[in-house]
Symmetry: C2
Subunit: 222 residues, 2 copies
């Protein structure tokens, strides 16, 4: 495993980033469509078998050259964050819906509108309770960062008010207050009609080792 | 959206279930391998473009016949649960690792050993905090059910003790106590070395409408 917070800084031009986003984004979108279709298909077994073989061929094609492990996170020379592999927002990660989170530094908040399909089901027709937790954890972390208090999740408490039907949803989170090294964030998930279905409170903390690292060598990207 | 707890009972033979599991399981595994490889590939853009076109062709093949919406959950005449679409344990769901959860009705507990790869990353090299929440929510729900108190998540509180490196992991949960309609479950996630990385407490409740339904018409599957 890489050292914690070993984010590195990547020298990359805006043009190259745009090219990456277009190429890799289209590939991940294609895999997402395949994943959802493969979940819901009722074609005959011989067609499934044929599809499986063709999928294995494409996997072999892409496996010819890969990075050795997980993608990690890089800070770009342009001041951005390259988190293509993130399980919630990762452009290249077919497991991620992905969420396009909008951070507001003025208010220390983060929000996203998105669609969850059959891949995110728990109870029949509804979003898995754990998926709601997954998305809200990311939203809360981004709200803490937007408010100037980035950190890792220390605690996260969720309250499920009502079931969340699959479909168009939205989520918001905001930095509520700061107590010493703790950033307290509140958030909620809303259904298509705008009704709150899940609320949460998270405490985000920059661990001591990270604070010490920053004290010793302030990040170049600030 | 289907009515809550509209699980239905599916007449299906053990042989047919075994065939489904083999066919659909192999398809989902192939899509999982493709998803992880597509995330980590560094092949040239023209090869990515070629892969994308071939993926779209396979998607079209599988899209010829599909169920109209999410898979839902069915109870089988053999007494099992057919939850192929579940985002954590779903055999057919490429987003699910999937977890093979073992329920112990004697102790009211549930456990799973599994591997999380690059698709589940948050901080560099580590499991996304929200993914830990996703998996623990499912484990806790299954522990409540194993203990004779099935329900939906009412609240879930997580404490992140230390980062969880990607790799071989395990999770356990157990019904701690019952207070009226509330089943209180405790669980934890452990890293490869068996160290606890995340702990949680969840309250699982069978909603009033579900209790009323069961009072009016006890499920045939009991």
């Amino acid at each position: 495993m890489p050292a914690p917070f070993d984010y590195g800084v990547l020298e990359i031009s805006d043009e190259e980033l745009a090219r990456e986003r277009a190429t890799y984004g289209a590939l991940a979108d294609a895999v997402r469509r395949l994943a959802e279709t493969s979940l819901r298909t009722t074609v005959p077994d011989d067609v499934i078998e044929q599809a499986r073989e063709r999928i294995d061929e494409v996997t072999a094609l892409l496996a010819a050259e890969t990075v050795p492990g997980p993608l990690g996170v890089q800070l770009t020379t342009g001041g951005g964050v390259r988190d293509y592999g993130n399980a919630v927002v990762g452009l290249r990660n077919p497991v991620a819906p992905p969420l396009a989170v909008v951070q507001d530094k003025e208010t220390g908040s983060a929000s996203a509108e998105f669609e969850l399909n059959a891949l995110y089901e728990g109870p029949p027709g509804c979003v898995h309770g754990g998926v709601a937790a997954l998305l809200l954890d990311q939203l809360c972390g981004e709200a803490a960062a937007a408010g100037g208090h980035p950190g890792m999740t220390g605690t996260l408490s969720l309250r499920y008010v009502r079931p969340t039907p699959l479909g168009r949803l939205s989520a918001t989170a905001r930095l509520a207050r700061v107590e010493g090294v703790k950033a307290i964030v509140e958030g909620e998930l809303r259904d298509t009609d705008g009704q709150v279905t899940v609320t949460c409170e998270g405490v985000f903390i920059l661990p001591r080792w990270a604070r010490e690292l920053i004290d010793q060598a302030p990040p170049k990207y600030e």
